[in-house]
């Protein structure tokens, strides 16, 4: 007896019907998918056709490899085994198809037998079992554990149950076949063999077994076809849409907003209708699987503000679907919910701190941030609608080039008594120290500027500042959505810097650093930029800065979003801290890529925090748990927010905040 099995055993001559049905369901699937593609294509053009090999690698690594999905053990593994179980089952089905309809009839070649068949059976059985475990884990998590971040709709339930039934009926069919034929080698079909043992001849005759097999077979086939057809119209579409999202992911620097080009000659700004997003941004609406990881990590959501990144993407999707109907009609405005104000509230948009945690954690590279900024741009530039406390902030930026009401002519006042030279006096310097608005005007941050001056002098660095010629770097205005004001400031700064022939710039503020590094090149400003944490570490390592003493007391380190997540500077500050302290750094629970925002990014520094809890207080309470005495940080916004948080929580006796430059300078 040959070690194999007969395809279409016991079900008669049904191949033709099966193939016709297959063609129909595949058509249904493709049609559903085609309709989605058409839906995304209402968006504007966006070029994502470069780096093809990198894109393929993304799909392999993050799709097939589940690299980000596996960052969380339970959901990661349950999805991983379900995914791979199905991939292998699909390949198995493909092999059967090739055997039956290609190699056998055309080449008269028969390979599905012998050892190959045994291994084939074993692997497929094993995959089916893994997939069942995966589905059961998912069902258990979704309906028994019920994590907050999952919202359950019928689609979720139906999809999981359908998958489960397809798998179970597959095993039942196999079990019935093995029970009826009983070839000993089918022990290799491990699970099917055990199910076959259930169909014991003591209670079921072979004749009725054959009937049952036929029923199982048809039910299995029907459910499988239903599943395939359903794919294109349900959350299961993410198999394709999320893969596309991985393929078409952004390879731009994380901290780079898309500029509005030729802004003076545009007529509309930002996004107020779905079709004003790019096709790639609309693809996100279907790539998102509502897994909720972004929501779990979002400082706005966790501080009980109206924003959830997951909800934002889903609301966009709902609007897209509702709009798609009216987009086709003659009157395109008919019965269309407003994207801003109805589908997505203004409060949601203003709650975002642009901390990037949502995008960093998203397993399928959904791009939340640019959307928030695009919608804010619409509100600010087209409607001039924004929290009213931003009006003076914008006006201050316009007239005095800083977000607070300080006269521009007082920008260099902090240098009094320090004799820091400005480039207007002498531009023959090794590096320009970009002091920034906080470093120039904010009393707390001025201390950091002074500390850095001390460090630079100890290390004999020939540096200068722009003094009163320095203007806001434009970052807060851009993040708030005031692209026009942001671009004006950027252009003016670039002009001054080019006049002085500046090549290297040193920052204490990660926001200035990020915008100079990643966004100024968009406007023709190419400079070599350094954040003071990298710079100071380099000075220490090269021996230009000698530190003999150590800091007393334990330290914890708070990662700034724009330094860490945006620019991957996690290690330099920690290395410096190791250098200058005795003990280890007492890390907070959320650190590095998962660090929790101070609450001030995205222009939130200048907005009231009237909704929910205060983000800075949540962070300070987390720091308190480490029992460290000092929260070290490397960003003026963080410094302000954490200092305020400590005061608000009455923890002045227990905790203090220091910029890394201050800690280093105190030892010199």
């Amino acid at each position: 007896m040959d070690v194999t099995r007969e395809i279409f055993w016991n079900v008669g001559n049904v191949a033709l019907i099966v193939y016709i049905l297959s063609a129909i369901v595949v058509f249904i699937l493709v049609y559903g998918f085609y309709k989605r593609v058409k839906l995304w294509r209402v968006g504007k053009e966006e070029k994502r056709g470069d780096f093809i090999w990198e894109r393929v690698k993304s799909v392999l690594l993050f799709g097939f490899g589940h690299k980000k999905t596996l960052n969380e053990t339970y959901p990661g593994i349950s999805h991983f085994i379900l995914f791979w179980g199905f991939v292998i089952l699909f390949l198995g089905t493909l092999i059967i198809f090739l055997q039956e309809d290609v190699f056998s009839p055309i080449f008269n070649l028969f390979f599905l037998h012998g050892n190959f068949y045994l291994w084939f059976s074993l692997i497929l059985d094993f995959s089916g079992a893994l997939a069942i475990i995966g589905v059961l884990l998912a069902l258990y998590r979704r309906y028994v554990i019920k994590p907050d971040r999952l919202d359950n709709i019928f689609d979720d339930f139906f999809s999981l149950i359908l998958i489960l039934l397809v798998l179970v009926t597959g095993f039942l069919t196999e079990g019935a076949r093995i029970a009826a034929t009983r070839p000993d080698f089918e022990r290799w079909s491990f699970f099917g063999w055990h199910i076959a043992l259930l169909f014991n001849p003591s209670w079921i005759e072979v004749a009725s077994l054959l009937v049952w097999h036929k029923i199982f077979w048809w039910v299995h086939l029907g459910l499988a076809f239903l599943l395939i057809g359903y794919l294109g119209y349900s959350k299961l579409l993410h198999i394709f849409s999320s893969s596309l999202s991985l393929f078409f992911r952004s390879f731009e620097p994380k901290g780079k907003l898309k500029p509005i080009l030729d802004i003076e000659n545009q007529e509309s700004f930002g996004v107020s209708k779905v079709e004003e997003f790019s096709w790639r941004q609309l693809l996100d609406a279907d790539a998102c699987t509502r897994c909720g990881r972004c929501q779990d990590i979002c400082p706005a959501y966790l501080s009980e503000k109206p924003l959830s990144p997951k909800k934002l993407i889903q609301d966009l999707k709902t609007n897209l679907l509702l709009s798609s109907k009216s987009l086709k009609k003659e009157n395109p405005e008919e019965k269309r919910p407003h994207l801003v104000g109805q589908s997505i509230s203004e409060d949601e948009l203003w709650s975002c701190t642009t901390c990037f945690a949502c995008q960093e954690t998203c397993p399928v590279f959904v791009e939340h941030l640019q959307k928030v900024i695009d919608l804010r741009r619409y509100l600010v530039l087209m409607e001039a609608k924004f929290p009213q406390e931003l009006t003076p902030m914008f006006k201050n930026l316009e007239t005095n080039y800083n977000p607070w009401a300080f006269g521009f002519a007082t920008r260099a006042d902090w240098t009094k008594g320090l004799e820091v030279k400005s480039l207007s006096e002498d531009n023959d310097v090794e590096i320009l120290f970009w002091v920034g608005c906080s470093g120039s005007f904010d009393d707390r941050s001025k201390k950091v500027s002074k500390a850095l001056v001390k460090i630079l002098r100890k290390a004999n660095i020939n540096f200068g500042i722009l003094g009163n010629e320095e203007k806001c770097c434009g970052e807060p205005a851009r993040r708030i959505g005031n692209e026009y004001l942001g671009q004006i400031l950027i252009q003016q700064n670039i002009e001054v810097l080019k006049n002085y022939g500046v090549k290297k710039i040193l920052f204490t503020c990660p926001h200035g650093y990020n915008t100079f590094k990643n966004e100024y090149p968009q406007f023709g400003g190419e400079f070599e930029v350094f954040h003071h944490t990298d710079f100071i570490l380099d000075l220490i390592q090269k021996g230009r800065l000698k530190i003999e003493k150590k800091i007393n007391g334990d330290l914890t380190y708070h990662d700034s979003c724009y330094l860490g997540r945006y620019n991957d500077i996690y290690d330099s500050p920690r290395e410096i801290l190791k250098h200058i302290s005795d003990g280890k750094i007492k890390e907070m629970e959320r650190k590095r890529e998962k660090s929790f925002c101070c609450g001030a990014g995205g222009g939130r520094m200048w907005m009231e925090e009237n909704l929910g809890k205060r983000i800075n207080q949540l962070r300070v309470m987390e720091a308190e748990k480490t029992d460290a005495k000092t929260i070290a940080s490397a960003c003026p916004y963080c410094l302000t927010m954490l200092s305020d948080g400590i005061k608000e929580k009455g923890l002045e006796e227990k905790l203090e905040t220091k910029d890394i430059a201050e800690l280093v300078a105190s030892l010199l």
Partner: protein, 265 residues
Amino acid sequence: MNIVVCIKQVPDTETKIQINSDGSGIVTEGIKYVVNPYDEYALEEGVRLKEKFGGEVTVISLGPERAKEAIRNCLAVGADKGIHLNDPSFEGSDSYVTAKILAKAISEIPFDIILTGKQGVDFDNSQVFAYLANFLNLPFVSVVMDLELSSDLKSVTAKREGEGGEKEMIQIPLPAIIAAQKDLNQPRYASLPGIMKAKKKEIKNLTLSDLDFSADEVGEKGSRVKVKNYSLPPERKAGQIIQGEDPTEVCEILVKLLREEAKII
């Protein structure tokens, strides 16, 4: 409805004012100029009236060439036309002459209501609206915190703040002059299309001869107030913090200081 808003370009409120060497004026170099903040409330009210009742907002300003920028800013937030009273001989005009020139220019255009700020934050004279009312023979209400137009558009009810903080409700027939206080409204920020459109809006330039004045009627020559000399106010002394553990003791020192040094009790 024809709405006229008189605005002035003034140094930004954060400017570090410096007196020039001979004390005849301030150092203008490096000064950033803005629309007088009180005039912004007047403008906002004007634009709101237009949005509610229809019509046109004309912004009018007397000042050197740079004042065009201020007028342009007003056009960006919703004014329709600009008139720039711009002649070298206008320089040095006091409130009286300024109002005289404004009155002449305004009398040549249709108007139902004239709005302006309660004072310019540069010289803080708070006189132009009153002179203007006199020249145009119109009623006026100053320091207006709330404004309501009657439904027949024939009169306004204005809530004003008196010297002692008391509130007065005054009803006057239109046309009238309203001088805005800061609580009148929340001035809007210009939208970008607004800024772009403003670049194309007309600003009419009117000179001495356009307004039929002779040179000695305007500017310093025509003015009744002459500034002899400018000087900075004395620098404020640093505050004093009374140290001490015992509140009674601290209070005693405080009372002593208030009596003997500050001499206010």
